[in-house]
């Protein structure tokens, strides 16, 4: 993973490290700034803990750094939910329906997921390949939102040697982050490339339909933010659920039906060309830098202040 050469070389760090680092300062972000006693629109911190300075930047991960400031107390509320997180809802079967006629390829879902779930740099739980189909001038654009299919017959569960992944009663395929050793078997087993190794927790990771939201009666972040309304979330066991009705009444497809996994992410208007040829993850964050021209020594010494305005320049 490429490391940022920025004023605050932050990757993963403890709170103590974080505060110490502030002395060096991110640009001019002084440590003393903007604490809770500020006038006006300041948000009050909880009284018992010293406030965390608000203007510290956590490198490239700002907004995806919730875990940097919290311990397990952040989910203390789950005590009232009993075993819901593990077992899920009895009698429900969650599913997603993606109407590709409404997908505008905006990547709002990709971004929202990163912030909601605090996904480390370079990893994605959902992503939207964006491809061209057909030759000029009969070319068209196609977008294919991807995520864990929460299959009826998942191939990722039985390969787990640690018993760290299971399917809840409501169909959500979960990972136990306390149990997972990070062996990667499930990552290999998934025919949809839905799983990845999380470089922070060093466990397997993947979409869980935002179970933390769904369990409270809220929508997954990607559905909530989908600007075209392409992503819908519903309960297949409820015949009156709009998702169930559409799946019954309209032609829907799943990805790679031949796997026999029986995905529970359905698509409307899935192009034939894509059904069995899944385009990959949107980018290769680390390798991308090589491709983006960073290997070029010219760019490293491009005269810092001479890039702009020169006749020839390589920004890369």
């Amino acid at each position: 993973m490429d490391q940022v050469d920025s004023p605050n070389k932050l990757k993963t760090f403890s709170r103590r490290q974080l505060l110490r680092r502030l002395a060096g300062g991110a640009a001019v972000a002084a440590a003393t700034a903007a604490t809770a006693k500020a006038a006006g629109a300041q948000v009050k911190p909880a009284a018992q803990e010293p406030p965390v300075p608000q203007n510290i930047a956590t490198g490239r991960q700002a907004g995806m750094d919730f875990y940097e400031f919290h311990g397990r107390e952040a989910f203390a509320y789950t005590q009232k939910d009993g075993n819901l997180a593990v077992e899920g809802y009895e009698g429900k079967r969650w599913a997603m329906l993606i109407d590709l006629r409404k997908c505008v390829g905006c990547q709002a879902c990709t971004a929202a997921c990163k912030f909601e779930n605090n996904i480390p740099e370079g990893s994605f739980r959902t992503w939207v390949p964006d491809v061209e189909i057909g030759t000029y001038p009969e070319t068209r654009r196609a977008f294919l939102p991807r995520l864990c299919n929460h299959c009826e017959r998942p191939s990722c569960i039985e390969v787990c040697p640690a018993d760290a992944t299971w399917q809840r009663k409501d169909g959500i395929v979960e990972i136990d982050y306390d149990k997972c050793w990070g062996c990667g078997s499930c990552v290999n087993a998934c025919p949809y490339d839905a799983r990845f190794m999380n470089p922070v927790t060093k466990t397997a990771d993947k979409c869980n339909f935002c179970a933390q939201r769904v369990d409270q009666g809220l929508l997954p972040a990607c559905v909530e933010t989908c600007i075209g309304g392409a992503r819908q979330f519903g309960d297949l066991n409820d015949p009156n659920d709009p998702v169930t009705r559409q799946i019954k009444n309209e032609p829907v497809q799943v990805l790679k039906p031949s796997t026999g996994n029986q995905p529970r992410v359905f698509y409307i208007a899935l192009p034939d060309q894509l059904q069995n040829n899944l385009p990959g993850r949107p980018t290769l964050w680390s390798e991308m830098f090589e491709d983006a021209g960073f290997e070029n020594p010219e760019s490293e010494v491009a005269g810092e202040w001479k890039i702009v305005g020169s006749q020839e320049a390589v920004h890369g």
Partner: protein, 1023 residues
């Protein structure tokens, strides 16, 4: 795996990334089993955020999770101005998530009305695009500056010293030898005229020989990049109080020619939009759903809904680039046109439509709104209005008036004083006395040769055959006819949408005008499924408080602006003196832009050339002309700006050391959009009335000694107070009862503007309910109210807090339509003929502009056709730009999430061109233009017209954290993620006829982005 790879090669990845294999190596992060990572926050929920609403499992009801504050504000990651629900961690005060505000019409088809209880919106929040989601990273940018900076060494040497607030205000206000401590020999002894010194000259003329140039205080210039709504008014108010007319936003770098053209057709309005969800057919010209628009997400949302609906929308995208609109299925089609020839395509359609009588003749025959409404119409045009057509007649080019026609005195209102040939009598008649008039008329009235506006368009369109137009625009004649037939096959449920791609050309204004004519021909305006100017806004300027007025400064700011916009060259002393001496007054030294506004791109070169006058103090606010303006990031102009003799004091107000602000003398740290105020009306895609209110939901900059967070407004306030400007301090803002209120902090002003919005007139279901206890709690408004209690009258607070708690004031959605009619209609005369344009001269050639649109060849300022300027044999490619979903301007390099999705923009090349040049997908190529070259990654695609290359804006930074600089002795290292990609604006074509000016549309005032010729060269090093 191999199959997947080869598949991807075959279909070439479009907008995401640039065709890099794209297959994720799942083993990349594999680690030994004994290397345990950081324990997740929850065994099952992992490191996800805890939810902002929690369910009581006994009752099934949602309740607020007190760990979070939710505040409702307005986005500014682009100019869509979408409502946001910002999720703030109560423990840390940090923003962890940005969600759409369900009360804002941009974010939901069926947005919540103002009286919807907050809890009812918990499970149905609004949507927001990727940029909107990523806005957190603009605020918490590791390169944010939070204290004022002053340069060390010469301008642009990359060395900065943090300074205190008082020093900043003292130095820039009092002036003197303020650069003595910089160690820069060029400016150490420079005696700088600060704000105080310049204001002292407020009574003096700029130039005694040219009184039209106003006062010396016009030497203060505010160059604003993205600044809109009430924030722009805050900056303007300062400028006017100071005595300067020179406060600008960036419109001409964006798309001003389309605003200018629309204002000619729809007087006083700057945007029309289709009623997308109910239209049956739309032609998207030079823009497409999913790309930047007003507002991007709503435009895309409505299109998605409409094209998925049974029997719903079909559309055609006219664009050299296959963007996000050209999707699979039978609802969308793509017509890859030659750049800049949209006018030819539109005129070909007009010609066919007129020749085949496919226009709405009855609609066009109604000469006034009353005649139109009497016949069931919702608007009327000037189609039948007569125009003086005799070049010898003094009224040539003007609408024929009743007096000229020998019909006696006409109406007092000049806009209504029109003459037509009455259809019943066949005789000339005052328009207002005719119910129906002849639309196609050429002849004589009262001895004067006249022609109807419609006849003029017919003749203009007839100058070329459909086949000739087809040749010009590169689209087959049969396809043109099919498009025209389809467009005229849906009654009033068809419309054109036109934007950047059409107007950013030397002939941009005429192109847009031609497209706008198509809508007039089918009479779609004000109809459901047709075209609209939108629902409008609740005014913030007056009502409870007069926030704009500074009575004591009245008359101080006047005169020709630095950009020479909204002024005629022929009225200048310079012109008159030349004429008096018998000289040819043309060309002017630099063009004048009488028809345009916010001609931002002319500010720097005009200041350097001191035409029409020089600049003493320049403020750049979110302005980055070297990055954004075509052709301006060049050595010559940068050297001129770096020389303090040209502009003695440059102050930037920015959130980082930016690509242009790095050349300033001082940088004032500004708040990010999450720390700002602004009142902004909803955009016309929304059919209902509404005003969003952006307010500081967090504050991150350092504070002034008296506890205000540093930002643009506090900077202007403190300068004003130190200079002693009227309109600031304890007697500043007058309320409706004549009582004066202070202006000592930004809230003193913005809260009063909010009160104006909250109490603006509106129907019974538009009233603002009082704020609720829950809203106070969830938005954490208690401390806010406490801090600013005395800025408003107590009775105003419940509604003002309610507006803040909902992020604005919106009319309910149910008011959008009345059956087949739109509720909010615009009823002035719509124009085929632009009289004002016809009467205006080109300041370079002295020729009159055209009142009726025509196919006009793109040229330089003095008329050299672009093919002659850069021979297509040497320069076979044309560069165009696009604003996709992930980047639309200069300010997103800090948004690492977006960079993770698309780290490099690449240079998109058609398969056919790549094959000819032997260029492979992913290889490095040089883009060479007459002004230089840049290296980037080739992205070989099917979805672009051969002969055209393009890049997404937003990459290839040199400032904004992309390169190193010194800060108070510490080295700040730039992040190469921010340097990634290619940026071609700095090497775009400059006009050889005008110093340091890119090609420009001299009618509409747009700078040209789409007419630079180029060639591609393979990078020798890369085989």
């Amino acid at each position: 795996m191999i199959d997947r790879r080869s598949f991807l090669k075959a279909c070439a990845v479009g907008g995401v990334g640039v065709g890099f294999g794209g297959f994720y190596d799942t083993f990349y992060h594999l680690v030994p089993f004994n290397d345990r990572g950081r324990k997740a926050l929850h065994r099952v929920y992992g490191n996800s955020n805890s939810p902002e609403w929690l369910r009581d499992h006994a009752t099934g009801k949602l309740a607020h999770n007190p760990d979070w504050t939710l505040r409702h504000t307005v986005d500014q990651q682009c100019h869509s101005e979408c409502g946001l629900r910002v999720k703030i961690d109560r423990k840390t005060g940090r923003v962890q998530r940005i969600i759409g505000n369900p009360y804002h019409p941009n974010t939901l088809m069926d947005y919540a009305s103002m009286d919807t209880p907050l809890l009812e919106t918990a499970a149905r929040s609004g949507t927001v695009c990727a940029r909107g989601n990523a806005g957190i990273q603009s605020a918490y940018d590791p390169y944010r500056i939070t204290v004022p900076l002053k340069r060390k060494g010469p301008r642009g040497s990359g060395q900065w010293q943090p300074i205190g607030w008082e020093q900043l205000i003292r130095e820039v206000t009092d002036g003197g030898k303020i650069f003595a401590d910089t160690g820069d020999p060029a400016s150490a002894n420079l005696d700088v005229l600060g704000f105080k010194g310049l204001y002292a000259k407020r009574g003096e003329p700029m130039d005694p020989n040219a009184p039209e140039l106003g006062h010396r205080t016009n030497g203060y210039v505010f160059q604003g990049g993205r600044i809109v709504g009430s924030r722009l008014d805050f900056a303007r108010r300062f400028g006017r109080a100071f005595g300067s007319v020179n406060t600008y936003e960036h419109v001409n770098v964006c798309e001003v020619s389309h605003h200018v053209a629309i204002a000619q057709v729809y007087p006083g309005k700057h945007m029309t939009k289709p009623d997308i969800t109910e239209a049956e057919f739309i032609i998207f010209w030079g823009t497409q759903p999913g790309d930047a628009n007003f507002p991007m997400q709503t435009f895309a949302k409505y299109t998605a809904e409409a094209r998925a609906k049974p029997g719903g929308l079909k559309y055609v995208v006219v664009d050299p680039l296959l963007g996000r609109g050209g999707v699979m299925g039978d609802r969308a089609a793509w017509l890859p046109i030659k750049p800049g020839t949209d006018g030819a395509l539109a005129l070909a359609m007009i010609r066919w439509i007129i020749e085949n009588s496919r226009y709405d003749a009855d609609y066009l025959s109604r000469p006034t709104q009353s005649a139109a409404e009497a016949h069931g119409e919702l608007s009327h045009t000037d189609a039948s209005h007569l125009v003086v057509d005799d070049p010898q007649h003094p009224g040539f080019g003007r609408f024929l008036t009743a007096k000229l026609a020998g019909l006696g005195a006409g109406p007092k209102e000049p806009d209504l004083d029109r003459v037509v040939i009455d259809a019943g009598s066949g005789k000339p008649a005052a328009a207002e006395s005719s119910q129906q008039a002849v639309i196609d008329y050429s002849g004589e009235v009262n001895g004067i040769r006249v022609k109807s506006a419609f006849a003029r368009l017919r003749e203009s369109a007839s100058k070329h055959s459909v086949e000739e137009y087809a040749q010009i625009c590169g689209i087959d004649a049969e396809k043109i006819v099919a498009l025209a037939r389809e467009f005229t096959s849906h009654g009033r449920k068809a419309a054109c949408e036109t934007y950047r791609g059409v107007c950013k050309h030397p002939n941009g204004y005429y192109n847009v005008m031609a497209v706008l004519m198509l809508d007039l021909l089918i009479g779609n305006f004000n109809w459901t499924g047709g075209l609209t100017v939108g629902g409008g806004e609740y005014g913030y300027k007056s009502g409870r408080y007069d926030v704009l007025g500074v009575p004591e400064a009245k008359g101080l700011a006047y005169g020709v602006k630095l950009s020479r916009e909204e002024a005629q060259y022929e009225d200048s002393s310079e012109y008159k003196a030349k004429v008096a001496k018998g000289e040819n007054a043309y060309p002017a030294k630099r063009p004048w832009f009488p028809l345009s506004f916010e001609v931002y791109t002319e500010l720097l070169p005009s200041a350097i050339q001191r035409y029409p006058y020089g600049v003493d103090i320049l403020v750049w606010h979110m302005a980055t002309p070297f990055y954004s303006v075509p052709g301006q990031g060049n050595e010559g102009l940068i050297a001129a700006v770096k020389d303090p003799k040209n502009i003695p004091l440059i102050i930037a107000c920015d959130i980082v050391v930016g690509d242009t602000s790095m050349y300033a003398d001082y940088i004032v740290p500004d708040g990010s959009f999450l720390e700002r105020w602004c009142h902004i009306g909803t955009l016309p895609t929304t059919l209902t009335k509404g005003s969003g209110v952006r307010w500081p939901v967090i504050e991150l900059t350092e504070k002034t000694p008296d506890g205000r967070h540093i930002c643009l407004e506090e900077f202007l306030i403190d300068i004003a107070k130190r200079v002693g400007l009227p309109g600031y301090g304890d007697k500043a803002i007058k309320d409706a009862d004549g009582r004066w209120w202070p202006l000592n902090r930004k809230e003193d002003w913005y809260l009063k503007a909010t009160a104006n919005v909250a109490f603006a007139p509106g129907g019974p279901d538009e009233q603002v309910p009082d704020v609720t206890e829950l809203e106070m709690q969830v938005n954490d408004l208690g401390s806010f109210h406490e801090a600013f209690k005395d800025a408003l009258k107590p009775e105003e607070w419940p509604k003002v807090l309610s507006v803040l708690a909902k992020g604005g004031r919106m009319e309910p959605r149910r008011n959008a339509r009345q059956g087949d009619k739109l509720t909010h209609r615009f009823t002035k005369t719509l124009h085929f003929y632009a009289e004002e344009v016809a009467l205006t001269r080109n300041s370079m050639t002295g020729e009159r502009f055209l009142g009726t649109t025509a196919w006009v060849e793109p040229t330089t300022a003095l008329g050299t056709p672009l093919d002659k300027l850069d021979d297509p044999k040497d320069w076979p490619l044309t560069i165009i730009t696009f604003k996709g979903a992930l980047q639309s301007h200069s300010r997103l390099p800090s948004n690492y999430v977006l960079r993770q999705i698309m780290p490099d923009n690449g240079i998109q090349v058609a398969v056919e061109d790549a094959r000819r040049l032997g260029i492979r997908d992913g290889e490095k190529v040089w883009v060479v233009t007459p002004h230089g070259k840049r290296k980037g990654t080739a992205c070989v695609v099917e979805g672009i017209r051969p002969g055209v290359i393009t890049f997404s804006v937003g990459y290839g930074h040199w400032g904004y954290g992309a390169t190193n600089y010194q800060l108070g002795g510490k080295r700040i290292e730039g992040d190469r993620v921010r340097r990634a990609g290619i940026h071609l604006n700095p090497i775009m074509r400059r006009d050889p006829d005008v110093e340091q000016m890119a090609l420009m549309d001299l009618v509409g005032g747009s700078v040209v982005f789409f007419n630079t010729r180029a060639r591609l060269e393979r990078d020798g090093a890369h085989v």
